[in-house]
Symmetry: C2
Subunit: 592 residues, 2 copies
């Protein structure tokens, strides 16, 4: 079962949830038109379908190999990567002054979804290059920019993010890698970094490592970390003192090399400072915010791929007889319980996609709005939505892939079917780029208090506006969508007030204990509202005479989400409200 | 991280939820005492810890190999299996007249949990032998019994269940394998069977296949299927006409061979009829009911293993500083969000264990009660609980294993850590022995109507009795347990009435559409009530002067479940009540 990029769904989501038309009309996107965006997405979809998707299963089986410090990717990967960069896809969001096309994050996000649905192991590489470009654009010296940006934008070279060390994962304060000034403006970087995605590979001639390390006498903790650029090959063509020591044997994304990198075995790798001394984490966060959205998109992507695989199987596989059928076996896709599974997969995927695209649009406006006040508001909205986009999408990526295995029955457990690969691949996304627990804590402790709580209040108000429109809607196909969505939003509102209150009264434990269920609650209300926006738009188009049957499908999907998924909101609210009570004897419960 | 059998938790669950003491007092278990049961479980725990658990990782890495029709298991497996049978563990539940120890299903269920926690790939083999023993005891001729039972009971030989064919999985009506009478009382069996667990291996000298096939001129559909016993080696020592054609490359349980079996390539495998002609499915269901409980126990088992692994890691791994800690990094197990993850793992595991053990006790009473009325009631209770035990436990097996990976962060995605293996292994259990969708349909369409609905009503009444006791309980550590549990039970009660009403008004689609959320709802209420029973018992022991800190832990776990997991009941009730409305345009939603 291969992948077909769902371009119509993608475009509909961009237009009717993420506000593509509005942004174009507002002039935020320059001379980009909706039609041009659609044309680009169709072209991207073709590349994803025809070139990348066929590599996915082979890449999984073949994996990558390390020999004498050289990593070889699976057959066909080098050619596909070359073709992809030559077609300009890496350069799509890059700055125009360095050869990029300067297209919006929203448009690129839809592309990132497609690359990753075609193959997560392929898609994750360019995410890191993209992050490095942003860090260099914002924090690099002119010298570094002119030396590296053009080739990173084109994709002729790739980049890596070197944060994690054995004792420093979620807690970067413990980081030990060191950088000594050489006196000539360069530094000598030494240390060991683990879990470095595409740390070494054969896709490109050079690899540009961005590395967090400590200067001599830097303060302890996170305020003593600086960022360095360490190329695999130096400007004069000689090999730098950095090597891949080993690669990991992972549960999934086998075709993506995950490397342990050794810097400075022979005296120190030559590096250049990026940004200010001891301000490396700030530079890193520049990369990480957009990388978090990209990883969220990986969750959407693997969910979409798993859904397509399961739907295809369910339409082919015949077992049992449908209610009312006269004879013979029916495709399992007609059985109510299988329909529940497939609709759950599709509804969760659509909701996560909507949240990710909304986040992308907010990121665009945070950069592109002319008015500083609107820029600030958009930035705050993007900040609020990013942890939800990352964590919810990657959580449902695993859930949807798991249901996908289940729909296949016994065949789902056999590797050659392909469903199992999605289940394995999906499992990394809730972990990397900040675990989903870290995302939830970020949402509650840093994002809820933004603008004195006004950012989250405004977001809830916009969900309420959608619910209010729905309550006036009388089309029977909506079923109980309106009351269910309203209930979910009110649950979110009460839980939000409770957490803001906890934070302002310094009840940190209360907020931390409720963070994960709160994030899910936020996503159920936001996802339900987003699907309702699409369903209302679809309904309006039907009323206007549009006979596309997809519109009825959008209403049915929205209804399914409200009646079957958003109904979980009340329980999550109660969980948040119960708060940290459970923590009191938790240690005893875990010890017994 | 290895496995330590949680014998105290197991014994506490058996005594205070599954009614071990009461059953002993009632004389149902003959001369078994609580003390003897505990001694046996401690011994079983040692074997699981010391002999089986160390094989698990090696078995996963090594897998099994097929060469010239011969399957070789991983190094050490043959010796471990031999030691296990020689210690009498296979014979534990077997009938005394064939060398078994005749011990209760409840006691054996606790052992099955431990074997499977030590290694799912090891534990699944004997489950099939156990099922075959039951089928032969109930349906076999004296000749077959005397020829095979002793060696199956001891474990000197193993057995298999040959149901599935490429076109007949959940729907056995489509089964095509054939059996022709040879005129001498034997049959010649031909056909291909897939997904045959331990269909071929090197652990024992002989393998006894139970095979579903059609007699000539048998009616079409499920009423034309008969059951045959087909040994790998015939009584005269010659090889029968059955062979392993291939083995599957699976997502998990790599050390368990999953075979495609070919019967009758050379004229027909010699087989003997088990039970009546065309009544094979009845015989198979004898095996399958207990096998379903055993697979439920696999869910509990892998969840327990994943929990222990995650807890061990969380206690060792240091990142971040706990609230209130002065300096240095704290073990991640102290962070509220990680505690939520660990408590979710432990609470789901404990609830599933309780439901499985309750089911086991009902199965025992269905066989062992002297009074026919009590036997019938126990049989109905076992029938009601079996699909819940199977589906809920295996669903949470996957969920808990997934959280286990998450607790490990990046290390969870690396195979050598071991967390990923549990995630892969766990994924089969919701599929085999009847997918969890099939279990939910069984629960709703066949089990709810038992005794005119009285079986489920009585079960809900017993949950209510627990909730009523809790409501009178004033110990502060219970928090909001009582109201949350009461709400969950009332949700279950309303959803049950709705489904019984749908069934009696022939609204089949309504019942089928709500089956899966109903099963989960049932498990949340039942699991919450079971943990409350344990917590009340623990509280009483504390009141009686027992200073074991595990008792406070049991109360905290019960509270966590009620406040954080059982609160999902209301949303599930709403989903069941929304019913089949979503199915109307489901096809459009899936097509778009």
């Amino acid at each position: 079962m291969t992948y077909r990029a769902p371009v119509p769904d993608i475009v509909f989501t961009m237009r009717h949830v993420a506000g593509l038309d509005r942004a174009v009309a507002d002039g935020v996107y320059g001379d980009l038109s909706v039609e041009l965006a659609e044309t680009i997405l169709e072209e991207a979809g073709r590349f994803a379908n025809d070139v990348i998707a066929p590599l996915n299963r082979e890449g999984d089986k073949h994996g990558v190999t390390l020999k004498d410090g050289t990593v070889t990717t699976a057959p066909g990967w080098k050619e596909a990567y070359k073709g992809w960069t030559e077609a300009g896809w890496n350069a799509l969001p890059g700055p125009v002054e360095y050869g990029g096309q300067g297209l919006p994050t929203l448009l690129n996000s839809a592309c990132v979804e497609m690359w990753n649905a075609a193959s997560m192991a392929f898609g994750i590489g360019p995410v890191l290059t993209m992050g490095a470009i942003e860090a260099l654009v914002q924090h690099g010296t002119e010298d570094l920019k002119s030396r590296y940006l053009e080739k990173l934008v084109s994709g002729e070279w790739t980049a890596t993010m070197n944060l994690t060390e054995p004792h420093a994962g979620s807690d970067l304060a413990a980081l030990r890698s060191r950088a000594e000034p050489a006196g000539d403006g360069t530094y000598r970087v030494t240390g060991q970094k683990i879990f470095i995605t595409y740390g070494e590979h054969d896709l490109t001639d050079n690899i540009i490592h961005l590395v967090l390390a400590r200067l001599p006498d830097a303060p302890a903790g996170t305020r003593g970390i600086s960022l360095f650029l360490v190329p695999k090959f130096l400007p004069d063509g000689t090999r730098n003192d950095v090597r891949c020591h080993s690669i990991e044997h992972k549960l999934g994304i086998h075709a993506s090399p995950t490397c342990t990198m050794i810097f400075g075995d022979n005296g120190g790798a030559i590096g250049w400072l990026v940004g200010e001394e001891n301000r490396g984490l700030n530079c890193m966060f520049t990369m990480m915010n957009n990388a978090r959205l990209a990883v969220g998109l990986q969750g959407v992507a693997v969910a979409e791929r798993a859904y397509q695989q399961a739907l295809g199987y369910a339409n082919e596989r015949r077992q049992g007889r449908a209610i009312g059928a006269v004879e013979g076996m029916s495709p399992i896709a007609v059985h109510p319980d299988v329909q529940r599974n497939l609709l759950t997969m599709k509804a969760l995927t659509a909701a996560a996609r909507a949240i990710c695209y909304m986040t992308a649009e907010a990121i665009d406006r945070a950069h592109l709005e002319e008015d500083p006040g609107r820029r600030k508001k958009a930035h705050e909205r993007a900040s609020l939505l990013t942890p939800v986009a990352k964590a919810f999408s990657t959580d449902i990526g695993v859930e949807v892939a798991s249901i996908g295995v289940q729909v296949h029955g016994g065949m789902g457990f056999i590797e050659e079917t392909g469903a199992a690969q999605h289940f394995r691949d999906a499992r990394i996304a809730p972990i990397y780029e900040g675990t989903n627990g870290i995302q939830a804590i970020d949402l509650v402790t840093r994002k809820l208090p933004l603008a004195g709580g006004e950012t989250v209040r405004a977001q809830i108000a916009s969900m309420r506006a959608t619910a209010a429109r729905l309550l006036k809607e009388s089309t029977p196909a909506f079923g109980a969508t309106a009351p269910r969505l309203r209930d979910a939003i009110e649950s979110l509102d009460r839980a939000t007030s409770h957490l803001l209150q906890s934070l302002s009264s310094n009840a940190q434990g209360e907020a931390l204990a409720g963070a994960t269920p709160y994030l899910r609650l936020f996503a159920l209300a936001q996802g339900g509202a987003a699907l309702a926006e699409m369903a209302l738009a679809a309904n309006a188009q039907v009323a206007g005479g549009d006979t596309d049957p997809a519109h009825a499908g959008r209403i049915a999907l929205c209804r399914f989400f409200a009646e079957n998924i958003a109904v979980g909101a009340k329980g999550l609210e109660e969980t948040v409200m119960s708060g940290a009570g459970f923590l009191h004897d938790a240690t005893l419960a875990l010890a017994s």
